[in-house]
Symmetry: C2
Subunit: 398 residues, 2 copies
Amino acid sequence: MLETLGGISDERGALTRTFLSPAMRRANRLVGTWMREAGLAVREDTVGNLIGRLEIRPGAKTLLLGSHLDTVRHAGKYDGPVGVLLPLLALENLRRRGVRLPFNVEVIGFSEEEGVRFDTGYLGSEGYCGWLKAGTLAMKDAAGVTVGAALKDFNGGRFKPPPAAHRRGELLGYVEVHIEQGPVLEARRLAVGVVAAIAGQSRFRITWTGRAGHAGTTPMRLRRDALTGAAEFALGIEAVARRTPGLVATVGVIEVPSGAGNVIPGEAVHALDVRHASDRLRRRALVKLGRIAQTIARRRGLAVKWERTQDNSAVACSPALTARLNRSVKSVQGRTLKLVSGAGHDGVVVSSIAPVAMLFVRCRGGLSHHPDEFASPSDLGVALAVLTDFLQRMGEEK
Amino acid sequence: MLETLGGISDERGALTRTFLSPAMRRANRLVGTWMREAGLAVREDTVGNLIGRLEIRPGAKTLLLGSHLDTVRHAGKYDGPVGVLLPLLALENLRRRGVRLPFNVEVIGFSEEEGVRFDTGYLGSEGYCGWLKAGTLAMKDAAGVTVGAALKDFNGGRFKPPPAAHRRGELLGYVEVHIEQGPVLEARRLAVGVVAAIAGQSRFRITWTGRAGHAGTTPMRLRRDALTGAAEFALGIEAVARRTPGLVATVGVIEVPSGAGNVIPGEAVHALDVRHASDRLRRRALVKLGRIAQTIARRRGLAVKWERTQDNSAVACSPALTARLNRSVKSVQGRTLKLVSGAGHDGVVVSSIAPVAMLFVRCRGGLSHHPDEFASPSDLGVALAVLTDFLQRMGEEK
């Protein structure tokens, strides 16, 4: 299933599936088929989330299981899909064993988590949780299309932000299985581990403005080059992150709009992504970076503008749900391990409406967001056994 | 004429006319009309150059006049067109005065000088002079279209590089009028000046390769970030240029192909443009920059690849032709001034088939490659009077 789904891409020869793209629509159709085969009633909401529901008893509470179906550019096949497909197999395991759960289950393939097309992530889970705000709807992609316009087009001409799919009281929780995207499980020789907390994350779009000019005739000392300002800042960001334990900070994209090889850059725009498990230390680092940018701008005669595109506090997973998950991990794998997730996950947003727990699966070399991303069938088998055990016990104890 | 031509753009609200684009085709049609009104026989060659010929006597030698009709992105209206339109007005002046030149005149609007679409310039003049090489034809634009494929399409399906439009012996010279694009004439309070030499210029496309990875889960010390390597190099380039008198070096474009805000850049690609009036000092600076890039690559675990996209030696203008131009400048303006051009010009390439002279016109603030680029009507009038005087005397003395 991962191989088939991994072949559905917006690009030839590489896996890229972005928000509302043709490949995303095809992926939803395919996964929708698999959901139906697993006995779920399938619908797509107005932000493109694929939702499969096993309605066991009307009025009973619902357990959410899921992850996202979009990808970064030139992605691997595991980041996201694993958490949508394993629940389908777990439900099938239960059916084969004749286990009938006493609660409803909803398996969700979120339509957007990676923040590629609009440089803000969680559009799918924000829509599902009733969070989509006017500011987010006004954000533009590289072609100038807003989130709102893309959603209008997706819905055949009209769109308004959906309300939350559930009230908190209706939900038992949200459980997400995901590849670790880091090296810890591999180092500890474990197939799976349980997430204790998800790091907080701030993302920005930063614009440096100087003065364009002729690259051949403008002496160096008369230049106000926006790009060398941005370059100096990129190195400042790297230096702050290197000397702050646990902090990661990344400039993932940069461009000189309307630039040419023989024109001094009048403008440079880049992204900034800053994460830390401690919200306090993340905020402190951002204040430091703000000062560095100001100093560079002043010295170089540039203007610098920060636009916050995303801001998520660190999220502690639910102790009760995590304890259940730990018990199943111990039962299947012999021992368990608590991890902090440096990556953001849909659970960050879903934690606003449900208690959250996460299971991480070892991936080779800790590599992700890369075509070589890999989790072994046997590790995925362990994760499946854990999830099946978790669901079965939860059913027995309800 | 400048205002009308300046309204012909590939973009709404800004002047951008790149090689073989729809706007370039419209610009050629319009200027072709004006050429015909000035009594010239008009043709377009297979690389899109617009050529207006005043055939006075078959077998007589030919004087070339011209400049380019393409622009940078978000350009001004003067850089290029001034040197195509003033010759038409000068010929009209002569016609009104009843002056009949004893040589043929060819006015050329080169189709490409700025190097925007393919990050290599002089495609028009290289085609005109019979220089277009297989390596140039294989260069690609941002969409992956090669120069050769674009030319094939332009010519309705077939293209082979044209031979030189003239043999050297047939030509009296090439005279180009151009805005100064620098601050010297303004500082000296002169409308026009004469170019003694054009600085040599090297342009490169430089690719840094590291390893893509997840921005949230890859610790800083395990990263091989291609973009921070490129940023460090951009600052190294700036530092070398700042401490080398007369050297200008520019990174005008940069990008992270397939990048996203939450992915560590596995690749970063940028341009480099280096110029100096001394070829020896330019080459010495390039050696220094090569060492700096190697040091950065080694320390950061990156690979760095240089592709030379352009390389032009400094060009000394023809002493004989320049002396004639100086005489006309003195006669019209009272005094003259010798300048070095930091910018490259079509004359760099045309110097391979003809003696070259250049007249610079003052532009406000030395600004060019910018929508605020401006040369006053009275300064343009001085340039026109100089060009008319130059042509008339040349005719009288032939």
